[in-house]
Subunit: 189 residues, 2 copies
Amino acid sequence: MEKLFAYLLQFGHVNAQQFELIRARAKHKKIAKGAYFAEAGKVSAQIGYITDGIFRVCYYDKAGDSFTRYFVYENRFVVDVNSFRDEIPSAEYIEAITDCQLLVFSKQDFTQLSALIPGWDDLFVKITSYVLENKLKVTSNMLVQDAQKRYLNFLDHYPGLANRVPLHMLASYLGITPSSLSRIRKSIH
Amino acid sequence: MEKLFAYLLQFGHVNAQQFELIRARAKHKKIAKGAYFAEAGKVSAQIGYITDGIFRVCYYDKAGDSFTRYFVYENRFVVDVNSFRDEIPSAEYIEAITDCQLLVFSKQDFTQLSALIPGWDDLFVKITSYVLENKLKVTSNMLVQDAQKRYLNFLDHYPGLANRVPLHMLASYLGITPSSLSRIRKSIH
DNA sequence: AAGCTCAATTGCCAAATGGCAAGAAATACA
DNA sequence: TGTATTTCTTGCCATTTGGCAATTGAGCTT
């Protein structure tokens, strides 16, 4: 919970009294490895702050093969923004790739906090656009790099994460085949 | 101006009286081909709605080579969201790649509209997150496709645009070399 | 501990893409 | 209009990456 508060403070001001309003509404939730926090076609009713574990945001093609758009891990929010905000069906899956623990807020709790905490909405707008712009930047940078550079950048940008996610998921995130990633790893030692 | 109103109505409700408040603050602006609407290191003081022309959002590497992150064209907003909102230096360039015409709103005008029009901020949050999520989806899809598929998808998704932007800029957007794009075009006829 | 299942590695070869450079075409400019 | 400059095309070849399949390895279950 303290980590969540520290995270929020990076984006705006929240005082002690307001933290209590937040604390009172946060619910602990566990999601087992392989289960989903959100599913395509369903409305995301909760926003989560990850206290432990890793999720991936992914989608499936007609053949049933999955593609990883990105990973979300400890001390970050995880949510399908448009689905949660407008209560419309989500377009993607959010899958726990390890056992995960979250603090979750229901849509109702979130709306209450909007009403009770001036600047609450602004805070989330800031977080959302900052995070999205950043992801877009990272992804579009990847497009102009070869496979090895993408992997080295990933190691740099997300230290330790490469060893916590299955190779084939990381490969699909990087836009290469599992074989290629395996060879790249070998070539780096 | 009417197109701007129609665009806004896609994301929320705005009434006739409110349109007049918007109309009163919109300024016409022309930007010549090759000039910038925003530059890295400078605060973006305006948000623009493109009535004519094409921009590209791009960055430069140490060697001075430019890379196109994406194109923005008629009937869309163009802005560095984080720079405009928080009045911080922009991280990228927004370059006119044709002569362009815009309706622009200064930060001050925009803030006034926030105060005068209930839901104005919500409207822009919606537009921003919708557009960003979409761009992220398109870009991350590109990563797992080969060059030809990326180009065909581009033709599909942005009809006519391929003929209005220089080949080398489109190539850097697609993450391939100008030579490769030229060959792909040839192979398609 | 044995067997099952799925993930990861590796070899072989084909296909895709890049690098470089020369020539052609388009565009800008005087 | 002619010339200069930039962009685009193309050929040649090297490098990267993918496809497929066999093998190895790791994790689970019994």
